[in-house]
Subunit: 146 residues, 2 copies
DNA sequence: TTTATAAAAGATATTTTTATCTTTTATCGA
DNA sequence: TCGATAAAAGATAAAAATATCTTTTATAAA
């Protein structure tokens, strides 16, 4: 559905949201462990998210990643758009360049419905809404949750 | 959503379904033009689909690809499974290996619904059901439909 | 039986995605 | 101010996906 990069990105942001909810900052090392991703790879991804304003960061000792009040309200759709682009929400299911209402692919209409549902879901879901679930270990961001 | 290989595969099978509906056979060259895909690449993909029994073929002069009565009834889900595997129907939306009912990722339940809708749609859609639409140019398998 | 045709098979190349490594810059605390 | 820390930036590497090329095999028609 999403690229691996995008999956890591979402997990990282949810992790940062939870871990920094009281103003703390979270290091790459912590994030990498917390979501079970390659350390250098998630660093690159966070660099990108930081540039686009989806997460905030500070260098140096006691530095790390956190979310501004504004960033806490971002949706999962914002992250997906930042990493994978709009293709998954608007592109043709069969990869036809000019697929449109006027010249539709055979599954155009059915796919439109599913894509809309996906977008609506991601759009309404905000990155800080899982904090308590994650805290209570009712939801997880990696496989080794022991 | 699907890999490019899978998009080509679906388009190719729909094209073969339409073009071979009266017992004709369709050449790779014709398929490649009909769906606007690289000739050698679609040849490789059809080889795979042929091995898995999703399309039939015959070598030599007057040879080409066609669909048996059985193959005509295959669903789009069958093609997706053959090329991309089950991951899109069953895998975790955030790429967590052991995501499950017991240890769910944060979006597990919402995604389950969307994945099910996608699967149901692809499962109920059969490869030969677009023949008349395609014939009447009410649906298209490539961008240059002139 | 020979020749032409068209897919199958196998090998190779290119591009994109995923991942890693090294150096630089900013910031904090001693 | 200096040293340690942590992210940013840039370069490189490995793996996977996409694409192409060449040779072989099966089939049909002349």
């Amino acid at each position: 559905m999403f690229s691996k990069t995008c999956e890591y990105a979402i997990r990282a942001v949810l992790y940062i949201a939870q871990m920094s909810k009281n103003g703390e900052k979270v290091s790459i090392k912590s994030i990498s462990k917390g979501i079970d991703s390659p350390e250098h790879f998630i660093a690159k991804i966070l660099q990108e998210l930081s540039k686009k304003g989806l997460v905030q960061s500070l260098k140096g000792p006691t530095g790390g990643f956190y979310l501004s009040e504004h960033s806490k309200k971002h949706s999962l759709a914002d992250i997906v758009k930042a990493i994978d682009g709009e293709k998954i929400f608007t592109g043709c299911g069969l990869g036809i360049g000019q697929c449109s209402e006027e010249f539709p692919c055979p599954i155009h209409n059915d796919f439109k419905v599913i894509r809309k549902k996906l977008f609506d879901l991601l759009q309404k879901t905000k990155v800080n809404e899982f904090n308590t679930q994650l805290e209570a270990k009712l939801a997880f961001l990696k496989k080794n949750h022991t």
